[in-house]
């Protein structure tokens, strides 16, 4: 039934509301009543479609929810991406769009805005009640993640696992990345998503089927991380695609093997002088000796004294470009050699 049919012609039958008929009140009572009776997601999306007189779609990738309903009330889910011109609403203030009215070619009306606002609010309540808060990652089903990241899983099964995790496999532009946390299972995140807290190797953003490679790179990156404490200074998060040629070191230094001589020298210096490891890391990781002094919160002259002591213990200069490179390599290989 047309969106433009006048309300008085429709009286007595629930169908598309006339945008000029002051229908906002009816929209509000419709969704309030659905919320009161604890109606489900499909009923809410159907309400939006019926009252707006155009298809409505709900996509919440994080909770793996995908519902699309035609204005005649029939459920017809769609694969394609939403149109940027459709009126839409987020489920949370400031969130990404999750509910769309598939209406193009006309300005969104006040009634559309009320429908979106009330439906999104009711949908959020249902999702909070039935599916919990949105997880930080779409990928929290260990079996699906494992299948997706395993290069020996056949491609159709990997694509199926990806869809199960809320990844749109129909869109070739979609990019995802693997994460290797220091504690726990590998995870999969959309390329633009915020990283979780914790010590982490981050794989490069890739097409869905290239995720096993992203995971291998993430695991390598994890070996370059440190606790970020005085005892184990260094970055807690390392991105594989920021390592460049340094990544090659990972193949040369096996975990748990006898460390190279320069690493043994660093260990000996660290054991001999409290705070030495933090000093060495500050010198290696900052752009100037002033910045290094600020980093470990000592006076510039104090830093000079410590560097003289360190050069004596290590047996190579630290105030030349070559010496600093040797120190950086020693500190990096120290991380890689850990069992």
């Amino acid at each position: 039934m047309s969106h433009h049919v006048r309300m008085k012609e429709l009286a007595g039958r629930l169908t598309a509301l006339d945008p000029d008929a002051g229908a906002a009140v009816q929209v509000i009572s419709y969704f309030d009543r659905l919320a009161d009776t604890r109606a489900g997601l499909e009923a809410l999306v159907r309400g939006a479609a019926v009252l707006a007189g155009c298809p409505a779609r709900l996509v919440d990738a994080g909770r793996r929810v995908r519902v699309r309903v035609e204005p005649d009330g029939t459920r017809r889910d769609a694969e394609g991406p939403p149109d940027a011109d459709w009126p839409c609403a987020a489920l949370e203030p400031g969130g990404v769009p999750a509910l769309w009215l598939e209406r193009t070619g006309s300005e969104p009306s006040v009634v559309d805005a009320v429908i979106l606002e009330r439906a999104a609010g009711a949908i959020r309540l249902v999702l909070d009640r039935t599916r919990g808060r949105a997880p930080s990652s779409p990928a929290d089903d260990p079996a699906l993640v494992e299948a997706l990241l395993d290069v020996t899983t056949p491609e159709p099964a990997r694509l199926h696992a990806a869809r199960g995790l809320g990844i749109d496999t129909a869109d070739p532009a979609v990019r995802v990345r693997a994460l290797a946390p220091s504690d726990g299972r590998p995870r999969v995140l959309p390329a633009g998503a915020e990283l979780p807290a914790g010590r982490l190797g981050v794989g490069p953003a890739v097409a869905v089927l290239d995720l096993p490679g992203s995971l291998a790179a993430a695991r390598t990156a994890l070996r370059f991380t440190a606790e970020g404490t005085a005892q184990d200074p260094g970055p807690r998060v390392v991105h594989a695609d920021e390592l460049g040629g340094i990544a090659l070191l990972a193949d040369l230094v096996a975990p748990g093997a006898e460390p190279p001589p320069d690493v043994r020298a660093v260990e000996a210096a660290a054991a001999a002088v409290p705070g030495m490891l933090a000093t060495l890391h500050a010198v290696a990781a900052t752009a100037s000796q002033r910045a290094a002094a600020a980093e470990i919160n000592v006076h510039h002259s104090t830093l000079q004294d410590r560097l003289t002591q360190a050069e004596h213990l290590l047996g190579w200069p630290l105030r030349t470009p070559q010496g600093r490179l040797r120190l950086q390599l020693a500190l990096t290989m120290r991380h890689l050699a850990r069992p």
């Binding site: 009286a11 007595g12 039958r13 009543r33 159907r46 005649d72 009330g73």
Partner: protein, 324 residues
């Protein structure tokens, strides 16, 4: 008696919230004129009878009952050439509590079936109570069936495959028509579709009490409709089964029946009882009680999940009956 009503289906409750200004549960005799002028159930009349050109639509004026005015039949035939010989007929009787409506009210439902089943729809106009009490409505409905059977050839239709169908008062009149044509040995329909039918003038079932003041067509409205049709004899000992089919002693020899009704409406118990009595008489009936449905829910809120299920059950039954 426990008067707590079953809850409305969530989607239907929300729809009721939106249409409540147009449709109220009760209706008194004084309000009939006002109701006829207002929007009300007239708005269930389909706007485009041709269904975007699928049907050719004509209005036939045909003889009415003996010594009574002519009646009007709305005839909707598929415009395309029939491929498999004469088409089946859906003979439709509109609703409106015996006091409201015309032959366009609710006709979208049989038109949707006919589109699926390649059938002809004939929707009969009958005189309304209280100006025309019983037996005027049922006699008009019967006269229309007789004409349809005798002139089926003109309509490209098969007189041996007529299904009678109606909702609410139209369902009650369809049930009465099945009884009347059986007893008069008139045309023999192959099935009767009784959608939330209005069957019992006594208005004393538990559901009629439970739903007082709620939904659509409560016991006050029901008393108004039956009193308009029957006057002071409503609820008394001498009511004809051709007015109120629940009064029939004999339910044998009827065509297979499809009955549906909502659990949250006045007619629930009389419809369930009528289906049970058909089975007890050795007849064939299929009964659907839709949980949380108010009276006429599938017409007022056709998009709701429950309405879609109800409409689908009707069509499935017709497919099996007509065998297409």
């Amino acid at each position: 008696m426990n008067q707590v009503p079953p809850p409305f289906d969530p989607e239907l409750a929300a729809a009721l919230e939106v249409i409540k200004d147009m449709i109220s549960p009760g209706l008194t005799m004084d309000e009939i004129d006002l109701m006829r002028q207002g929007p009300g159930i007239e708005m269930l009349a389909r706007l485009d009878l041709t269904a975007e050109g699928f049907f050719e639509v004509e209005e036939r004026v045909v003889p009415g009952p003996e010594n009574a005015p002519e009646i009007s039949l709305l005839v909707c035939r598929p415009a395309a050439q029939a491929t498999g010989g004469p088409r089946p007929v859906i003979y439709h009787v509109h609703g409106g509590g015996m006091i409201l409506g015309d032959n366009r009210v609710g006709v979208d439902v049989p038109l949707a079936w006919a589109k699926e089943l390649d059938a002809v729809v004939v929707s009969v106009e009958y005189r309304l109570a209280p100006e025309h009490p019983h037996p005027a409505p049922i006699e008009d409905v019967y006269a229309g069936l007789v004409w349809t059977a005798e002139h089926a050839g003109e309509l490209g239709a098969d007189p041996e495959r007529i299904v009678i169908a109606g909702a609410s008062a139209g369902g009650g009149l369809s049930a009465a028509l099945a009884l009347l044509t059986r007893d008069r040995k008139g045309p023999r329909p192959i099935g009767q579709v009784l959608m939330c039918p209005m069957l019992d003038d006594r208005n004393e079932t538990p559901s009629s009490h439970q739903m007082a003041g709620l939904g659509v067509w409560d016991r006050t409205a029901n008393e108004t409709g039956w009193t308009a049709l029957l006057g002071d004899s409503r609820g008394g000992p001498d009511v004809s089964p051709y007015a109120a089919p629940a009064r029939a002693e004999d339910l044998t020899g009827l065509p297979p029946a499809f009955l549906d009704v909502g659990s949250a409406e006045t007619f629930r118990d009389e419809v369930v009882a009528y289906a049970s009595r058909i089975w007890q008489a050795g007849g064939v009936a299929e009964l659907h009680v839709w949980p949380g449905g108010f009276h006429g829910f599938d017409g007022f809120a056709p998009q709701a999940a429950l309405s879609q299920a109800a409409r689908s059950a009707q069509l499935t039954w017709l497919r099996r009956l007509i065998g297409s």
